[in-house]
């Protein structure tokens, strides 16, 4: 199947679930198709249909048994693996010492990310801001705290199989851990232009199609270097006037 490259240790759970769903529904579909085709081909030559009157007790019992088999064999089975995957992928508890908080401000039509910087406090001069570029270290729990400045957006990270709507007026979180660096994937593909991507999945207006960005996964030490460089540079950075006020009002978030 054409799934995008996986950048986390858990993403395969979603792909496995997808494959399992494809296999089990295909079996059900093929059974229906085989019966449909057979009954039609045989039935065309028949001149009179078979008469039945009302529904017999056996038919009711058979129907009930059939429904139970479908429900347990197909639905409950898939739901079991689904809830298991959900528990692993979407209920991650971040490690207390090994995490990174990134604030996400979505607005038409760009993704804004804010990092606490080297002092690990938001609302200080060394806060790092990036636009349409999410930079994270590998093998670290990343906690995205997201809100929208206008309409509903949706942060989509195809390589992690994750997606979360970003709403105005409330903060929602997404927690993940990446395990494959962008550099390693570039080398594997032998394509220096390759990047992981983020996209907006919820239609948000005129240029929704262009609301996207790069998702850079760095080795831990590379990330530390990047963070230091950016923090120094950030001292000169002036936040865009439009949302400066808004971000000041939301600077109580502290890195844990």
């Amino acid at each position: 199947m054409p799934y995008p490259t996986r950048a986390s240790a858990d993403a395969h759970l979603i792909d496995d679930l997808f494959n399992l769903a494809i296999i089990s529904t295909s079996i059900a579909f093929l059974i229906v198709l085989a019966m449909l085709t057979y009954f039609v081909i045989v039935g065309i030559r028949r001149s009179r249909g078979h008469y039945t009157h009302g529904t017999s007790k056996q038919a009711y019992i058979f129907t009930a048994l059939f429904a139970i088999v479908v429900f347990i064999g197909l639905d409950v089975n898939l739901a079991y693996f689904d809830q298991k995957a959900y528990g692993v992928v979407f209920s991650r508890v971040p490690e207390p010492k090994n995490n990174l908080v990134v604030q996400v401000f979505a607005k038409q039509f760009e993704w804004n990310f804010r990092y606490a910087g080297t002092d690990e406090k938001f609302g200080t001069d060394d806060d790092i801001m990036t636009v349409n570029q999410l930079v994270v270290p590998t093998k670290t729990d990343v906690i995205l705290k997201m809100q929208s400045l206008d309409v509903v957006h949706c942060l989509f990270l195809p390589s992690l199989r994750m997606k979360q709507d970003v709403l105005p007026g409330m903060t929602v979180s997404l927690i993940f851990q990446a395990n494959l660096t962008t550099k390693a994937e570039k080398e594997r593909r032998n394509d220096p232009e390759w990047v992981f991507e983020i996209a907006c999945a919820e239609f948000c207006g005129l240029n929704h199609s262009d609301m996207k960005g790069k998702f850079l996964i760095l080795e831990k030490d590379e990330y530390t270097t990047w963070e230091e460089e950016q923090s120094i540079a950030a001292a000169d950075f002036v936040a865009p006037e439009v949302w400066e006020h808004w971000m000041d009002g939301n600077s109580e978030e502290k890195s844990e």
């Binding site: 997808f18 529904t25 065309i44 429904a67 197909l74 689904d82 309409v151 709403l167």
Partner: protein
Amino acid sequence: MSGDVDPKPGFIRTYVFSTDHKMIAKQYLFLGIFYLLIAGLFAVQIRMQLAHPDAEAPLIGKALWPQTDGKMPPEFYNMLFTMHGSLMVFFAITPIVIGAFGNFVIPLQIGAKDMAFPILNMLSFWVMFIGGIVMAASFFVPHGAATAGWTAYASLSSSSEVTSPILGHGQTFWLLGIAFAGTSSLMGGINYIVTVLNFRCRGMKLLRMPLTTWGLFFTAILNVLWVPVVAAALFMVLVDRLFGTSFFMAGPLASVEGGQPLLYQHLFWGFGHPEVYILILPVWGLVGDLLSVFSRKPAFGYKATVYSMATIVILSQIVWGHHLFTSGMNPLLGHVFVFLTITISVPTSIFFLNWLATLWRGAIRLTEPMLYALGIVFVFCIGGLTGLFNALQALDIYVHDTYFVVGHFHYTLAASVLFGVFAGIHYWFPKMFGRNMNARMAKVHFCLTFIFLNCVFFSMMYVGAGGHMRRISDPTTYTFLKDFQVWNRFMGYSTLALAAAQLLFAWNFFHSLFFGKKAQQNPWQANTLEWSAPTPPPHGNFLSPPKVARGPYEFNSPLSGDRDWLMQDDPAATASDS
């Protein structure tokens, strides 16, 4: 009262402001076919844009956007998919399946002279007509028609500032147009319920009604329950837009605190999920009818089918949360909605069991309505099974808002319901217009439609599995979607072929209206009451009030003698209880 029949109505009372349910059905049918054509052409433009995002839009490009060499601007693309969805759901499928089939079939199948409230019935059509005009007019206001998607999520739809400069009056027109369509559905729904409950002829017990009427009856119930909900939500969007309230506004753009955009999604899908069953229930009923008639065999498990429909009516109202797994709704609620949603496959699997068991040991007649009905069993099986993917929380989060979902609901709504439309039109055309459609042309149309429709919709699910988002006008700018461009081209050309195949249907339909062979009274040798009425039925339907003696599917009954069918009101044989 339905009994009052004006013996000599004038031209206007016969063809324009008619209270005859059969004429209103025809009006709905033509209205629906018109918008089906328009919204279908939008689909072609959408797919051509995705096939070649950098090229000039075919036919209209040079004329509309000379400044960009005919390249389609994103606001036009947004308008196209918004109006494609809205027109298809509210002004094509609803008028044809519910308006036309419901109006034509319910009184005839239950042996009534007309609907319970003929004037309300006329009004419901004309309200729908005004809604259609408002929708059409919205293309000609500054900045064009609505661009917020058919779901019109707040706060995109509810704020005129955020989306400026492109979200102009079009969105307001859209809200009004949908309000008219909703009002029409509500009036129709009340009318259908009252008619079914009170206007059945002698002997027509509820459990002797054909499945089509059952489907339409359940649809009417869901309409009456849920259209007011979406109407209220859209009204709040309207006052947010026009008067600056903040029902669905939050964050920096809200004028006052306390609004909640997520609330809109709950209200919309509270209606939106029953809505898909509103559209498919009559088609399920129709499939039950057609499989029985053309297998020359009683419908297997008739009562189980009716009870399954009733179960779905209840379940459909408590599963809307599966649209909201990514929305920021409490994840604990998500677990509940997973469980509720998968239980829908119990009644659905009973439909399939009953359909297959009806075909089993039947004498199959591959007429054109039967082909479409078998097509529905095929495409709805795919649509239903892929619904399971979207019911699973972890998996749905990945495929949410991708083409996988688009492919899935096109299998259920576009493929299944469209085949239902064709099946119904071919089946009742002789009764409606007194002429036959060309059978061979219909069969060719079925085959072509079946092939190309699967080419388009199956490819959608494939690219969706790769994460291809919906509602983006240019997929080529994403690296991870680069490989899918060949699929987008394939879908583009398949859509062209699919659209071209519909010319066959259009020609067959309009040519047969005037030049088709004169139809017999009961060309399909079916049992239900519409075939006991003269062809075409006069105002008042039946020459004498029918008296029903048995269920609708007594094929090859020992009582039927030489023929293999036995009309519901056939007095020749002794009444049997069913």
